[in-house]
Point group: C2
Chain length 439, copies 2
């Protein structure tokens, strides 16, 4: 079973930072962030994961001021610093293809892969938050389809740049004065619809060949891209049935794209709330739910849904007609589905989904949580989980101290790291230079 | 006296990597890079400096393969990793305004300033290497004047983004559920010729208020920008007379721009070749000069001059008519001036200038080198130096072990760090939020 940990200061839960035990300034303390990553490494997680958005949430200052998402490091620089502060754990960082240049992303990720000696992963996103456009001299956020067309070309350029050098190109021959063998240099010369990039990359080939390719899009365009290129897919699923349907479709598309179905690790986002007893766990969950200010809850729900519900009474229901969204189609569908299925009012809905940003929350004893994780895993719905601690440090501590030993007792999770690289941890193949494209 | 150290793997000298003592793979070893930064910190340097270019040098594979410049980490990610690996020394990193977006640069530099607890500096460049354009979907490298117009607006946006938050905006009030005081948030809403950027930055205000602003341009447009905004200026000067003229002009322009002349630290790039005796030092210099392959020497000389001399015989002289360059006007003038003054052939010129990339080389005993550094400093030509070790580790070791103690004996250099931040080391004022611009 694959296990990743979201390293989200101060809390993945939107109100977790208000908990008395939460380290509320961890987001700007490298010491704390390094300590959390070390604890995840000690528990033998496959990786830590750093999310990203390129703007402050598009909300009034009053609402924004209740949201801790701003109070943190920029994730690429933080990942590089964590590469120095950890030794074995994988480091997956989010970079959008919509407001970046492939040369920068290819180079910085290659560098992090080399700084960490082969532990980098790239969570490729296309930016679902429309407010990002206003920070990048762009009048209007592009449509989902256009963003994915750009993303595909972006990824292909990036992959081509990582393949600029043979693995053994650098001979460092002091006597002859030759740094590399010219035969080992491959100039990309890409000319496409969105980019023209000559190359070569001015960084050597990454230790892993290519950083591990991670995606999370669940729209049709997102699934199509993942089927072609992703090695890890994060998904927000709240029922086993939906998770199984998603994974089955993704694996079918993967085979259609000419790849073995097993080439992708599917991981479901999961926020565990662990208690020694069921009552203790439920009390913890209720405590967190109550910490979410309704103003924040409705604002965040509106963002996830892609339409405004902030003016609606807390005891009303979602409208029958759901407006179409360009923002995050699949997430909207998941939330609407949950509300309809359990007949939830707006006031009941937001504490269920905004706390965990739409990911599944599992509340219970270590045995119950292990049961749940085992059930989806053995049903073939997922290859593992990305654990989103409700807040730090407790959320990570509880899972590492109570749930992981239970998973180990069941033979589901490693005792020790076996390899050195993130590819080793995930049992992913090492990509040969030039694999998957015609030079 | 201010002292910085270029952290240039494997060598600042173009052939230094061929020296038997050079660590030739340091550029891809975080362990080695951290060790060098720690050694500079132990010697109490004000900062280490990381240069950058966004392409492989525009040369044939044969020439390129003799040039170590590719074999290294990307500098922004390396700087973040060094923030984790060091405690006191400043970290100055190069970022171009021509192929970047201000939101990214403002955010990543703010993050590095926070990761390092106030030790970040930004060397703002506008990209003089024309080949960078081809990696960024750009048909043609913009002119010097256009690049500086963009740079000025870029810097103003960046500064505005750093000022998005009051220093005390983040109150972290768990009981009230308020992360920050809404009155402490300032939305930029910049609309200009090159950029429209709404803000706010989704990172708190940097520890230093703003990372230290460093520039190196010596063209008229470069000097004009430095006069308005720079806090540190690097310059490549080979004679005291020229250095004094440059600094005098820069300080005049600074006063014209409405700032005190003393607000800028002027630092001259200097490659010291240290020997216990003059003969030993000269032998070291000759050894390094002989390691430069003529093919590499002429190719690099062509790049620095902005026109091709690679076909010319080694015993010929620069032409009487020097072609105009868009690339690096001031560096061309410095090199042509040196060649004319000392009547050097092409074959004599390249070992003098390409090894140190046009910066001054000082060859001699610790006393002689200290004399030279002291003379320019006391003449008011410079506030200090940026030391470019010919190769690592010896170039840095020799200077730290032999020259710095001599500077200390003369009362010219610190024994210990007195402050915590790079601003403290450089005795630069802490910028109040909003200083220098109208909201």
């Amino acid at each position: 079973m694959v296990l990743g940990a979201v390293l989200s200061p101060t809390s993945t839960n939107i109100a977790g930072w208000r908990h008395p035990n939460a380290v509320s300034n961890a987001g700007v303390s490298l010491k704390d962030m390094t300590r959390f990553a070390e604890e995840a490494e000690k528990a033998k997680f496959d990786f830590v994961f750093l999310a990203d958005e390129l703007c402050a949430p598009d909300a009034s200052p009053g609402i924004l001021s209740r949201d801790p998402v701003i109070y943190r490091f920029e994730p690429l620089t933080l990942t590089a610093a964590l590469a120095a502060g950890t030794e074995r754990i994988g480091l997956i960082v989010t970079q959008t293809t919509t407001y970046n240049e492939p040369y920068h992303v290819a180079r910085k990720l290659a560098s992090i892969d080399n700084l960490s000696e082969g532990r980098a992963g790239w969570n490729l996103v296309t930016s679902y938050v429309t407010a990002e456009a206003a920070n990048f001299s762009t009048a209007k956020h592009a449509s989902n389809v256009d963003r994915y067309a750009r993303a595909e070309e972006f990824f292909e350029v990036t992959r081509g740049l990582w393949d600029s050098w043979d693995d053994d190109a650098f001979v460092l021959d002091k006597a002859e004065g030759r740094y590399f063998d010219p035969a080992g240099l491959h100039v990309l010369d890409h000319e496409g619809d969105s980019f023209s990039v000559r190359g070569p990359l001015n960084v050597v080939r990454p230790v892993q060949g290519r950083p591990v390719q991670v995606q999370a899009g669940s729209s049709p365009a997102g699934i199509a891209l993942a089927a072609k290129y992703a090695e890890v897919v994060f998904t927000a699923q709240t029922t086993l049935e939906n998770a199984l349907a998603f994974t089955t479709e993704l694996r079918e598309r993967t085979v259609e794209a000419g790849r073995p179905a097993g080439d992708i690790r599917v991981l479901a986002g999961t926020m565990p709330i662990v208690g020694e007893t069921m009552a203790e766990a439920q009390a913890k969950a209720d405590e967190l739910g109550a910490l979410i200010h309704p103003e924040v809850g409705l604002a965040r729900l509106s963002q996830l849904l892609g339409f405004d519900v902030s003016g609606m009474p807390l005891d009303s229901y979602l409208p029958d007609e759901i407006p179409e969204t360009e923002a995050y189609k699949s997430r909207q569908a998941l939330i609407v589905d949950l509300a309809r299925r359990e007949h939830l009012t707006i006031g009941e809905l937001y504490p269920r989904v905004v706390g965990s940003y739409g990911h599944r929350t599992v509340i219970g004893t270590p045995e119950l949580i292990a049961d749940e994780l085992q059930a989806w895993f053995e049903a073939g719905a997922v290859d593992g989980y990305i654990i989103a601690p409700a807040f730090l440090p407790d959320g990570l501590d509880d899972f590492s101290r109570l749930v992981i030993p239970e998973l180990r007792r069941r033979g589901l999770f490693r005792d020790e790291y076996e390899g050195r690289t993130l590819r080793d941890h995930l049992r992913l193949a090492w990509p040969a230079r030039g694999a998957g494209w015609d030079e």
